[in-house]
């Protein structure tokens, strides 16, 4: 049987037996959306909040006293100003991309915009991880190069401590901390971003594939 015949069958199919009434439609229209876009927005905002809170907390930690001692405060100040500008820029792009999402766009444009919005958040998180790792490296280099730097950080008063061993242990433990941090975030994003956008990415690729063939 050819498709034209099925088309006839399609045209003749009965209408939905249970028509939705105006009252029901009204109730539905007032309900909260549970769409992917809504989730992307909520999770995006949470992520911005998470890093902002984390940043403002760390600036109040006791560790700052040690940084002061090691004369790292100027560097830290510069980092905070840059960070502030970067966060504002990210928030601006996030909101701009989010508000450009519209279901009346074509399917392809809609998918592109959703993926772009989510990517803004992904870049923001990447920026934070990268900045944290870089800062850690810079600080550690500075600490290691300062006489008695490690002792100051670890608050070791015993002068007879074995120096060569301490250095090795310190560097290794810091390296492990960095690796664990990156692994943890990678896993988190693999789960969050991957699962949420899996379907969308697959469909976007499907539409894209043909464009490239021609």
């Amino acid at each position: 049987m050819d498709l034209e015949h099925y088309k006839k069958t399609w045209e003749n199919q009965p209408e939905e037996a249970k028509k939705v009434s105006k009252e029901e439609i009204y109730k539905m229209s007032q309900a909260k959306s549970t769409s992917i876009v809504k989730w992307i927005f909520i999770i995006g905002v949470l992520e911005f909040a998470f890093w902002l809170i984390l940043n403002s907390f760390t600036s109040k930690l006791e560790v700052m006293e040690i940084y002061k001692e090691l004369k790292l405060m100027e560097l830290l100040d510069v980092v905070y100003y840059i960070n502030f500008i970067v966060v504002v820029a990210f928030l601006y792009y996030f909101y701009k991309n989010y508000s450009s999402i519209s279901t009346i766009d074509s399917t392809k444009d809609l998918m592109r915009k959703i993926i772009k919005t989510r990517k803004t958040v992904k870049y923001y998180v990447n920026y934070n991880v990268l900045a944290a790792v870089l800062l850690m490296i810079v600080f550690n280099v500075k600490i290691v190069n300062t006489p008695n730097g490690i002792e100051t950080v670890l608050e070791i008063d015993n002068i007879n401590f074995d120096d060569s061993n301490l250095m090795t242990v310190y560097v290794i433990s810091q390296a492990i901390a960095v690796v664990i941090m990156i692994l943890f975030l990678f896993l988190f994003y693999y789960l969050l971003y991957g699962i949420m956008l899996k379907k969308l990415k697959r469909n976007h690729k499907e539409l894209d594939r043909l464009e490239k063939l021609n």
Binding site: T9, N12, T34, T103
Partner: protein, 164 residues
Amino acid sequence: MQKDLEAKFLLDFEQNQNIVHKVCRIYTTNQDAHNDLFQEVVIQLWKNYSKFRGDSKFSTWMYRVALNTAISLYRKSTRRIKTQNIDDFTYKIKSSDYDDTEEQQLKSLYSAIHQLNDIDKALIFLYLEDKPYKEISATLGITSVNARVKMNRAKEKLKNILNP
């Protein structure tokens, strides 16, 4: 003003709701998911209704929003279902004046469509609804030429499923 808009929307939607039901039948396979997707389409349509200027037909606009919601916004995966229990469809199509063989054919058609990917589903749906290529390419955001090529492949896939 808001009340007028609301009333107009409810009327427009009530008259054209069958389009959304058909999209839901294509992209979901049980009544719960059907209702869920239906509600999300209503939300999306109402959210954008003030932007609808009436320069195109409401139904044209409805096709686009309903398909977009099913393909990109609906959070549950609607990936192809390999095995489809025919009985799953009985809840959807029940009408005494509908011919028996035709009912069987409609069931196999839905069952075959369910095995297609999300984009092919949209293409086949627009073909069955007799939409011109111009509208299909505008809805999906691909060129007319691409829409034709892609449509032919989707039809080929559907034919192979229907007549193995």
